[in-house]
């Protein structure tokens, strides 16, 4: 794209700070940015409401004991919904954390690193959650 600096700052004179990308060009991943925070936020809103009602409002005693957790999580309707909740809520949360970190005014390079690290955290979070779900579903 014309007028845009590459990573080495090719459009800048030697020793000069690289040309900063326009804000709308900073996001290097799909699913990142304000619009997605609203979309994932809407999904989280539905799923967290379901999660709170199912786990803390309708259950006798307000919390599920082991057998109740297994019965809940092996329900064929609940399992995909809770899995989706895990994927979407962690994305929404880490995307929010990214926005907070970006508020410190980082360089484009630092922002990219933050984005990649948080993407890694998200992958680990989802894998951890899926593992836990798999254990609960297969060893009741």
């Amino acid at each position: 794209m014309a007028g845009r600096a590459d990573e080495s700052g090719a459009l800048s004179a030697p020793g000069e700070r690289p040309v900063r990308w326009a804000p709308e060009e900073r996001d290097t991943l799909p699913g990142v940015g304000w619009g997605w925070q609203a979309v994932t936020g809407a999904l989280v809103l539905v799923l967290v409401t379901l999660h709170m009602i199912a786990n803390h409002f309708v259950v006798k005693g307000g919390l599920r004991d082991y057998q109740e957790v297994i019965a809940y999580i092996t329900n064929p309707v609940i399992l995909p919904l809770e899995t989706l909740f895990l994927v979407v809520v962690s994305w929404h949360g880490l995307l929010g954390l990214r926005a907070v970190i970006f508020d410190f005014g980082l360089s484009v390079r630092a922002e990219r690193i933050v984005t990649r690290v948080l993407l890694g955290v998200w992958v680990v979070t989802v894998l951890y959650g899926l593992t836990l779900l798999a254990i609960l579903v297969t060893h009741p």
């Binding site: 709170m52 082991y66 949360g93 508020d103 005014g105 609960l136």
Partner: protein, 142 residues
Amino acid sequence: MSERAVTPARQAPPRGRRRGVLGWLDVRGRRLGGWAFILNRVTGLGVLFYLYLHLIVLSQLAAGPSSWNALLNWFLNPIFLVLDVVLLAGLLIHGLNGIRLTLVEFGLVVSRQKALLLAFGTVGVIVLLIGALRFLSDVGAK
């Protein structure tokens, strides 16, 4: 659409406002939307912290019924149940404010923002009261 475009703190920052998180504490020239922005960030960080705490605690399920049920008894003491009410408050503030922000951002109900805030505030307080009664009635329930 850039995420930066929606931060009220950036729309009209007073001269000399600090950048970054410390800028949130700056009360100069901040209007209702600015406070809502701060509140959303603070509750968002709090709820994210809880999310990871929650995911870590859930690993005890893999240790079997006795570990989980012992933990459960612990969580049914009044201190934890009060913290549950605090969590619900954080979720309500963040969720309702998120809806409000999204509506306004997409150009809906921009002219009725105070009415919207009042409506959402009322809903939030009612749900919080129901939640508090529900949670606090669980003390030592299992």
